[in-house]
């Protein structure tokens, strides 16, 4: 055997050893699962600040193990799309219902009517076929402004087109910020409706751009621009805006405050069950959804990430929002995810080309 062959053999052996080690670990894991009887671990793909706490609390209550894949919404949806011919997830829990509506249209979600006492907002968010369930809601957008730098406060989106706001307003880039497309779709829905389409919304954003709108990648970047005085007004997700007011001690130069311009677009946190999961997992997942909507589960959600994702408004009766949150915006709208979801790619491309 030549030297080259020997080197290649050694390389092959090394990889084989790694594979065997990994396979044996996998086999061990599989054995432990089957040994536990009819209980199967739930695989929760989630992008919520409270997901890991909820997994632990649910396991403590029911004995059902929950394996959490905690990541941003984008990579989770990419995983689900790539797994389409052999799904490996039991539940998906993320902000925004457009992706869920799309998954439903592709036949990937199990219809389930949770055992929950919905309030008015909850009922508005619930899909007619119960293919997913809201577990709370934020709104998009909250207008956060630096009250130490300005006393002019808008009361409508049209106000932002005035000279007083020239060059002082910032928002996120929908290509990089998940919550921002629902905001833009909400503007288009408010201004043009489903019959009028996107034209009126595009016209508004074009005027806003002409008035000096600045676009930053994500909520955090827009907040940073506000903190550094690059802008005086930022249009961001309500939980991020409230989190900023909690974290920041007001100073003479920076005192963030929030207003909600009519209409606020609902951006719910949504949970859905994989239709392809086996019957045991589906039954367990239904228990999880019920738990998330119970007062006990809602309390866990509210205590896990108190300056971030826990700052949601409940959508079930008998649960109150965290005290730091202001009253729920009176003038709100729910956009139809079935109508606006499929338009995301076109709208984002238009925004990147014409507004950014």
């Amino acid at each position: 055997m030549t030297l080259r062959s020997r080197v290649i053999t050694i390389g092959g052996i090394a990889v084989a050893v790694t594979l065997l080690a990994g396979c044996s670990a996998t086999a061990t894991a599989a054995q432990s699962t089957s040994a536990s009887g009819c209980v199967e671990p739930l695989v929760l793909y989630a992008a919520e600040g409270y997901d890991a706490n909820m997994g632990t609390a649910f396991t403590a209550k029911t004995g059902i193990p929950v394996q959490v894949v905690d990541d941003s919404t984008g990579p989770l949806l990419t995983k689900i799309a790539a797994e389409k011919n052999n799904p490996q997830w039991s539940m998906l829990w993320a902000d925004g219902d457009t992706a869920f509506a799309s998954l439903d249209q592709q036949g990937q979600l199990l219809d389930y009517a949770p055992n929950a006492q919905w309030d008015t907002v909850g009922k508005a968010l619930l899909p007619s076929d119960n293919s997913y369930a809201p577990t709370g809601t934020t709104v998009m957008a909250a207008l956060i402004y630096n009250s130490a730098a300005t006393s002019t406060v808008p009361t409508s989106y049209n106000d932002l087109l005035g000279a007083a706001y020239a060059g002082k307003v910032g928002m996120n880039d929908p290509a990089q910020s998940g919550p921002t497309y629902p905001f833009i779709a909400g503007l288009m829905n408010q201004l043009g409706g489903q019959t009028g389409g996107v034209a009126a919304g595009e016209d508004y954003l074009t005027k806003l751009k002409a008035n000096g709108l600045q676009v930053f990648p994500t909520n955090g970047d827009t907040l940073h621009a506000l903190e550094t005085g690059q802008i005086d007004y930022g249009l961001i997700q309500s939980s991020a805006a409230t989190g900023e007011t909690i974290k920041v001690q007001p100073t003479a130069g920076y005192a963030p405050k929030i207003v909600y311009l009519p209409k606020s677009t609902l951006l719910p946190s949504v949970i859905g069950i994989d239709k392809g999961a086996d019957a045991t997992q589906q039954a367990e997942a239904k228990q999880f959804v019920d738990y998330a909507l119970s007062p006990e589960g809602q309390q866990v959600m509210q205590g896990a990430d108190t300056s971030g994702d826990s700052l949601f408004w409940p959508v079930v009766n008998g649960v109150t929002a965290l005290s730091q949150l202001p009253a729920f915006p009176a003038d709100y709208q729910r956009i139809d995810p079935v109508f606006w979801g499929p338009q995301q790619s076109d709208v984002v491309t238009w925004f990147d080309t014409n507004i950014k």
Binding site: L3, G11, A25, Q67, N85, A99, H224
Partner: protein
């Protein structure tokens, strides 16, 4: 190199005992006839020789070719992997091939070429100064290079943004940085950041090869009347494989970039080829066929790069490391030369490491630095918070273990790859290997990882009882595939230098193949192997896209934890975790070189050492 005919009976005996196939590849027929019964054994041995190569190619197919091929096939056949209804269509190409993609391709090409040339030039200059001169401060650069390798591009971009932004630090200091902002927030900024990320790789690839280049070539130039510049030109041409390795990998890394371009050129309307791809993958429903179609166009750029490389290296030999290699003499710089060199190194240090370090400090050590909010006080609150947090320790240990295993296996496989690539005269298999290795880098990590899901989450394989997806094993294999191209290229320069005559001489004198390799080849490549191991370890520890898509449920690599913290506006905590992870990796780098110094035989350490 042909062997001399035996001059004595003793020499003839040696020839008979030798496995001749190792020397010539073909046993002479008269010899086989005489050996009779050994004839069959020889043929069996010849067949056996083929098997390890088959095993190697099976591994390459499994970890590289299959995932890439399946992902690329989706552009033509979405139905194949349940990504659409058609078995064959070209509609993804008609959607993808817009004017925006074509201009993006051109921009990516320009950025790829610029960053590759700049990184290679700076990497070469740095290697020359560190290895061939007595410039002050040269000893710190190995550590600096690994620190650069570990520095995430977001910290580099963050540092520049904090400096240049309106009301940023330079503005607070009374300096109007608007002109610099206009220049930097666009293609120039992208090139600067990607070049900084490319320098470590270029340095490691070129310096490893430069250590194997004796001083005799420079002497020859000087004897023939050449000046220092001519010497450098000769050295560059003799280090061809290493220089082209650096160019190829940095080029491929740059054309696959999306994050740096999206962040720095956010409002510059400077689109790159990957924009269309990410737009297809990030929107929902995810459009993998369009992403795949864009990937085909990236493959065109890879083919172009390989054609240029092949033209440059064709028909030349770079086997400069033999038994007669002379020790290198370190150039004694004049006082003026030392001052200029130190200033250049200092500037590079500030640009490459100072700016991201500033970004890290501003984000994690000073409360509200540069902003109207916060106390602007130094404090360690973010560090004390994350050090005790289970979000740091568990994921860091998990990632460190995976990085260690990946580095060890990768170095072995990369040595094989480098040897195959260094084989004189490009074979078809060598060309395929070269293409696959570069293609794996040119494809953005997220689609490479999606290819892994396509390949290893097939219902058919599950029904056979093979469940690789969702296991640490598959994550390890993907890490291996991600690291293999760069690591192979780092070793290629050194492997290309080894003259076969040294090993043949050892064999002629009666040593077996393994002992010959251990005593002849291993000492020569020991230091490059160490550099390759550390490169793989550090690059794998903070790898993100593959980790995001392939980490098993319930196990979180550190990079995903950091990204989640940053995504939830915890810049302080996320950056503190990042800094601590970088420091842990630098500790491993220091430990690696310390162990090499303490444990490696003295002879191994002398290779490439300047006098």
């Amino acid at each position: 190199m042909a062997l001399s005919p035996p001059k004595s009976r003793a020499d003839a005996t040696v020839r008979v005992d030798l496995p001749r196939s190792a020397l010539t590849g073909v046993a002479p027929t008269h010899h086989r006839r005489r050996l009779g019964a050994r004839d069959g054994l020889s043929r069996v041995a010849a067949r056996m020789r083929f098997q390890p190569l088959t095993v190697f190619w099976l591994i390459i197919v499994a970890i590289l070719i299959l995932p890439i091929a399946l992902f690329l096939s989706v552009a033509f056949s979405p139905r194949l992997l349940d990504q659409g209804s058609e078995w064959f269509t070209l509609s993804a190409f008609s959607t993808a091939l817009t004017g925006q993609l074509l201009s993006g391709l051109l921009n990516s090409l320009i950025i790829g070429i610029s960053t590759a040339l700049l990184s290679a030039a700076i990497g070469f200059s740095l290697a020359w100064v560190v290895l061939r001169t007595d410039a002050p401060g040269r000893r710190i650069w190995t550590g600096v290079v690994f620190a650069l390798l570990l520095t995430p591009s977001y910290l580099i971009a963050l540092g520049w943004e904090r400096l240049l932004e309106p009301n940023g630090v330079l503005s607070i200091l009374g300096y109007d940085a608007s002109w610099a902002r206009h220049i930097f927030y666009g293609p120039i900024g992208i090139i600067v950041v990607l070049t900084v990320k490319g320098i470590p790789f270029a340095y490691l690839a070129i310096s490893s090869a430069m250590r194997g280049l004796g001083h005799e070539f420079e002497d020859a130039v000087r004897v023939h009347g050449g000046g220092p510049l001519s010497s450098i030109v000769v050295v560059i041409s003799l280090l061809g494989p290493a220089v082209w390795s650096a160019l190829a990998i940095v080029f491929a890394e740059s054309v696959s970039d999306f994050g740096v371009a999206a962040t720095l050129a956010n409002d510059a309307h400077f689109s790159v080829a990957t924009y269309t791809l990410y737009n297809a993958v990030e929107a929902f429903p995810v459009n993998f066929p369009v992403a795949s179609a864009v990937s085909w166009t990236l493959m065109i750029l890879v083919v172009l790069a390989l054609l240029v490389q092949g033209r440059a290296l064709r028909g030349r030999s770079f086997r400069v490391l033999g038994g007669r290699s002379r020790p290198v003499l370190r150039h004694q710089l004049s006082i003026r030369g030392k001052i200029i060199t130190s200033m250049c190194l200092g500037l590079l240090l500030i640009f490459a490491l100072g700016v991201p370090a500033f970004g890290a400090v501003s984000a994690s050590l000073i409360d509200g630095f540069g902003s109207l909010a916060g106390t602007h006080q130094w404090n360690l609150a973010n560090y004390t918070r994350v050090i005790g947090s289970p979000q740091l320790s568990g994921p860091l240990i998990y990632s460190a273990q995976l990085a260690g295993i990946t580095a060890t296996v990768t170095v072995v496989l990369a040595a094989v790859c480098a040897r195959l690539l260094a084989t004189k005269g490009a074979t078809i298999s060598g060309r395929i290997l070269d293409f696959v290795l570069i293609a794996a880098v040119a494809l953005p990590g997220i689609v490479f990882a999606a290819g892994y899901i396509f390949a290893y989450n097939l219902p058919q394989t599950n029904s056979l009882g093979i469940h690789l997806y969702g296991t640490t094993t598959l994550l390890l294999l993907a890490y291996l595939a991600t690291a293999l191209p760069s690591t192979s290229r780092v070793l290629l320069g050194s492997m290309s230098q080894i003259q076969d005559s040294m090993g043949q001489a050892s064999r002629v004198h009666g040593r077996g193949a393994i002992r010959s390799w251990l005593s002849i080849v291993l000492p020569v490549i020991a230091r490059p192997l160490l550099a390759a191991w550390l490169l793989t370890y550090t690059a794998t520890l903070l790898e993100l896209p593959v980790s995001q898509l392939l980490a098993p449920p319930g196990s979180q690599p550190i990079s995903v934890g950091i990204t989640n913290a940053l995504g939830k506006y915890d810049f302080g905590g996320g950056t503190a975790m990042e800094v601590l992870a970088i420091l842990s990796a630098l500790l491993v780098v220091g430990l690696g070189y310390l162990l090499f110094r303490l444990c490696a035989p003295r002879g191994w350490q002398h290779i490439g050492r300047a006098q």
